[in-house]
Symmetry: C2
Subunit: 218 residues, 2 copies
């Protein structure tokens, strides 16, 4: 049975779930939920995702939100290449470490930065906050230095093969294209970004986003 996937192309975790589905050849059907139109708050969608965010999936009557939980479920439910979410305890723990570390250190700092500077003021009537902007830029240095070091010897979870973590991480980096952020001083991150962007799942997940990008860039 196909996986029903509820996404908005401007949401990094939505793109991550699409990229993962394509990379793992899991059949899926996309349902768009436009955040800018507040479609995530409709009564029908809240029945699927009571927290009112994207992405969410429905599969065999199981409803799941939070992109990492979705990808963990999909990796467990379908026969995907082991490295995406390894079965061995030690290797799985590396991916779990990354998936939890990601929230405050990549999602919060990168996508939070774009939200404060652009997405919030433009689409949700929030006010740009200079202190928050500066705090996020400062904190990014610590997290990106750490990631740069991890990427010296493999992928973002410290593994030798690609995992769910890489998919999630890439999609928060691609959000930074909206504000033209320059990561070129990070050699390993840049090499990894160039590798990731050529994956067929990443390409498919960014089709609509990349098409609209020239119109919304600042």
């Amino acid at each position: 049975m196909s996986v029903e996937v509820y996404i908005d192309h401007f949401s990094p975790p939505s793109r991550a779930v699409i990229a993962f589905l394509v990379e793992t050849n899991i059949p899926y059907v996309v349902k768009e939920i436009r955040l800018a139109k507040q479609e995530q708050l409709s009564k029908e969608y809240l029945e699927i995702c009571p927290w009112g965010t994207v992405p969410a999936i429905v599969h065999n009557n199981i409803k799941i939100f939070e992109s990492h939980a979705i990808m963990q479920y999909l990796a467990n439910a379908f026969n995907v290449k082991d490295s995406w979410y390894p079965k061995s305890l030690s290797a799985r723990s590396k991916v779990d470490i990354y998936l939890h570390w990601h929230h405050s250190n990549i999602r919060g700092l990168l996508s939070g930065y774009v939200y404060n500077k652009y997405i919030g003021p433009r689409f949700y009537g929030t006010k740009y906050n200079q202190d928050l902007n500066d705090m996020l830029l400062q904190a990014q240095i610590v997290s990106l230095d750490y990631l740069e070091n991890v990427l010296e010897n493999g992928y973002v979870a410290g593994t030798q093969e690609i995992s769910i973590g890489d998919i999630s991480c890439y999609c928060d980096f691609s959000q930074m294209l909206i504000v033209n952020h320059d990561f070129s001083k990070y050699k390993n991150i840049t090499r990894w970004l160039n590798y990731m962007k050529e994956l067929k799942g990443i390409k498919e997940a960014h089709k609509v986003f990349n098409k609209l990008l020239p119109k919304i860039k600042i």
Copy 2:
């Protein structure tokens, strides 16, 4: 083989790991890493936890940080009651949803609030930020209303039995005792907090914290 656990009693996720170990009767040895003395940045500790945070564990030469990844590993590696981290895909996905939702919605908003107001200025020389304080208080309303609703029918992950999520969530709520935050208007959260605080694992994990609390409360 005992689990070596590196913690600081003032760190909510450190208390969570101790509470989980006690509740599941997993043998462990505590090693204190005092954050206020910056012991987490010592060369020896960075060999264990390259990200330089607490908690971390070492078990069978496997080194893990991030409290959720630690508890996921422990639940997988030891024979613990299934509800802590269920094996069925649908039930496990509920706990995974909670564990990921937690970061930005409980950890970030509750412990982030205490850090900005108290822990940072007192121990790390950071400056109290009024805008951040107000933003966190505002965002708390949405997350706590949601949690209040979930707790109407069970535990924080929407399950009928206690899970890793409850342990993690409680330890961020207990951090709010430092600033005497009042949650009494949330009836379900209050009932759940009163249930949780009587668990032997929670009691053991909060022994040192509760003892020092009167001296540091503001």
